[in-house]
Each structure stands twice: as C-alpha cells, then as structure tokens.
Symmetry: C2
Subunit: 287 residues, 2 copies
C-alpha cells in the first residue's frame, strides 16, 4: 500500500466538502496552499466561477483534477427529457475535458421527478434501461474526446431519487456490457460511503481492476446516521474499515487519487481551515 | 396471482404497526374482529402480555401466526455475549413454537454495541462470521423442535446497527451453506422495504423458491424518506411496484401470508381503527 503519511500528492478534495463555506476559487486556493495534489469540483460551483477562469486557476496552481462532479440523471418522463439529459451530459463531458479531469463522475439518476418529491413513475426497471441507453450514447461522445466516464453506484437509500445503480456489481455489469474490451473509456467511482456495507465489495473491486477503477472516494459512515444525505462522517469517526478497503483498491491496481468527499451539515458549519486541516490529518493517519 | 380483493385470510398484520396505540391483546382482538387471517407479534409485546395468554387468545381467535419477531442479534464483543445471544435465540424458538408461528424471523445483528451508538468493533466480516455460527447453532435446535428460521435481509442503511445481511442473495447463500438440501428448516423473510431497490430482487426470489420463501412483508418506500428507521409508507403511498414484486413471489411458489409491517411515526400517531382499515383497503387494491 502507498504511504500517505508523507506528502499530499495523492490527496484530492471533492469541493462539495467546503461548498457552504467558500466559493470554488477560494477552495482551490486553500488546497493548493496546503500542497494537496488534486481537487474534484462540482458543476454548479464551476459555473458560478466561470469554466475558463477555474481551468486557468487549476492549471496555474499545478493541481490535478481527480474527477468532475457530475454527469448523469439520464431517466426522464418523455422523449424531450431524455434528449435534454443527453445534451447536458455532452456539455458535462466538454467541461470535464476543459478542466483536464481524470473522469466525469456519473450519478445516473432514477425515477423521473423523484428528486423533486413527485415521482412520475415507479418503474425502476425502465429507469435502468434509460440509464443504460443514456450512458451508451454519452460514452460514444466521451470516447471521441478522450474523457473516461465513471459510474458511481450510490447507496441503496438513494435509489429512488438519485441513482438506480446501487452496487459495484451492477455498475461493473453495465461497464462490461458497454465496453467488453475494458478500454478504460468507462469504469466506476468507488465511494466507501455508498459501498462499505456490500458483502461483495472486495470481490467486485478485484473484478474491476485498474482498467475500471477510475476514482476512489472516502469519508466515513456514522453510527447512528441521522440523515439520508447530509450526515457523512470524517474519516475515523465512523465504522468503515478504511485501510482494509484501500488495501483492496490498491491491490486491484488503482494508483489514482484518494478523494475526500464529505456531505455533512456538521462539517459545513465549521471553518474551512479546520475542515481542511482535519481532512489532511485523518488522511495521513486513518485512510 | 391470488385475488386479494375478497376475503382477508392471506392478510397478516405485523403488530409493530400498532405498537404505540394498543397493547398486543387489543391488536389481536381488532384483527380478529375484521376477519384478518394472521398476525406476526413482536417479542416484547408478547412478554408484556404473557406468552400463555397470547397463545390462548390467538388460538381462540382462530388466527394464524405468520411469523414471530424476532430472534437474531448474534454478534457480540466477547464469548459470554455470544453465549447469551444463543440462549436467547433458543428461548425465542420456544416462544415461536408456543405461539404456533410459521417461522422465527431473524434480524441477525451486526457490529456489537452499534445499536447503542457505541460500536465495539468495525469488523463487519467478523460480525458476518458470528452470524453464520449463531444461526448454525440455533438451526440445530430449531430443527429439532420444527421451527423454521427466516433470515430477514435488512436495508443496507441498517447494516451497521441491525443486520449485516443486507441482500437476498447474501441471505440465500447462507441458507445454502447451512441447509444444502433445502429442507425448509431455514429460509428468508422478504420485506419489500428492505429489498425493493435490489437489481437482483426478481432473480433471487426465483432462486429462493417455495422452500426458502418463509415470509413476505409489505409496506412502501416514501419519496422522500425522512428517517432511517421510522418513516415507512402505507402501501400505495410510495414507489414500490407492489404487484410486480408479489407476482415474482407467487410465481416462485409462495402461498403464505402477505404481512403488513409499518414502522412509521405518522401511522403510529393515527387511531388504530384508521390504520387497520387503511391497511385492509390498500391490501385489497394495491398490494
């Protein structure tokens, strides 16, 4: 396993972690000032700051971009909605490319309207078919510009609203269907928050291998967890066996960034410096 | 598929559904008065009313007992804790037998101490081994008295505290390891709240077949779900494709009760008559 206690070049900060404290340029500046190796920005944060300016700042700061969050949300209630989603994903691919991202992370979507609390359908099988077709169409374009797509399986508690792909096995089945020769054009983003509970986690990480492991996200699972979305823990504060999972990830050949992504009302309420310094300390000691 | 619109003999009420409104004898009385075919009582409710009295009342009321909730919680931090859990499960088997239950439902447990908010371990692999050993020991006794054990996979969001078996596939793998000839001594309780999201739900229900399908629990998954434990929906109020799942269950050979089990702060706040009448109406029309 890689030694993380020394420098921070393998560390990436997913910028959602500080979204309530700072605008994206300030997050990037704070990461660069600490010698952190990479960031993974969110689309709305980039749009608020302008794509060209963010791309320039990242390049000038000598930061890598471990991923771009996010494409996806393919399902829709009608043909026009499906088309709009495809166009939007094409734009996301272009933005990821402009930022020099290692991959475009896909939160694939699920029942149309569910995220707004008004599901137009209960047919998760149909949503899964729309996701497959949407990724297939996006992959064609992404491949042509050289932007890998990373399917992120989300926790099953987010299956109705955010993603109808909820296990690594399901995501990898889809990768195999869309890219049998394992070209690296499509793979997975493994987030321990979403996947820690899965009895097949180790076997599916091994199955994924270096060609399919495009991103690795860490935080922790708190006991108790009080909210289905915004109660992620800082590494070490919960029950995930972080070192054991990273050992599997690296044994499978992954050499990319270790990305910290924390959606948390608690950590959003703390000063940005405290959050970043805690991330770094935990990265060195418990990840 | 069976026609549920007519009589209520296939309907069972899991008594947790009314636990805040009524004591167990009153729940049993209300179910019997409506022509409901079965109940599934909880252990603490039975203990509060006395086992012998409850057994007599159920027999006099001509009700079936679709299951007994619950055995399990096998993992422990030390040998004494493991032994205590086994003794307690043996008692639960005896109580289930005294009630004439169709099966003892197992919520298998997970990280010791996690339910109390103080996990003594992060080793979910160890917990899974303890669960396997605990079920194996309990099965030997349960088989000798003729009480089937039903492993209930819980939703992955309850994996740290309540059950480290979270998919039907995992539960069935364990059944196959412990009872290769499929004698009916061990099987699964399929609860749509816990399993609805699983892309392998249909295939694993088919794999289970009549020998392994010991119980079928219904409620609904609300969008949004606001609590990880007590925000289950009334059938028809959420996004689960209830008829589609029941079609799979019955195609696999299941002929047992359809058990309504609703943990819900909302429904616990409503009058018992309203809850039961709503259960019956939804059972006839949407289940």
């Amino acid at each position: 396993m890689r030694d993380l206690a020394g420098d921070l070049r393998h560390l990436s900060i997913n910028t959602v972690t500080l979204r309530k404290q700072l605008a994206l340029p300030a997050i990037i500046e704070a990461c660069a000032a600490r010698g952190i190796g990479a960031v993974c920005p969110w689309r709305d944060q980039v749009q608020a700051a302008s794509l060209a300016a963010v791309a320039r700042q990242i390049e000038d700061s000598d930061l890598a971009v471990s991923g771009y969050c996010r494409g996806g949300f393919f399902p829709a209630a009608d043909a026009a909605g499906l088309r709009t989603a495809l166009e939007d994903n094409r734009k996301a691919v272009d933005e990821a490319k402009a930022l020099g991202a290692a991959c475009l992370v896909l939160v694939v979507g699920s029942l149309p309207g569910a995220l707004a609390g008004t599901p137009a359908s209960k047919d998760i099988g149909l949503a899964r078919n729309q996701v497959r077709d949407g990724i297939a169409a996006t992959l064609e374009y992404a491949r042509s510009v050289g932007m890998p797509l990373a399917i992120e399986p989300l926790h099953p508690m987010q299956a109705a609203e955010r993603a109808c792909i909820n296990t690594l096995e399901h995501a990898l089945d889809l990768c195999d269907a869309l890219d049998p020769p394992r070209t690296g054009a499509i793979g997975v983003a493994v987030d321990i928050y979403h996947c820690w509970w899965d009895p097949k986690l180790a076997s599916q990480i091994a199955r994924a291998g270096a060609q399919r492991l495009l991103a690795y996200h860490v935080c922790d699972w708190l006991v108790p967890t009080r909210d289905l979305l915004n109660d992620r823990g800082m590494m070490g504060d919960g029950i995930v066996e972080l070192r054991k999972v990273r050992a599997h990830i690296e044994a499978a050949g992954y050499t990319g960034a270790i990305e910290i992504e924390i959606f948390s009302d608690h950590w959003w309420s703390r000063p940005a410096d405290e959050v970043l310094d805690t991330c770094i300390a935990r990265y060195r000691t418990v990840v």
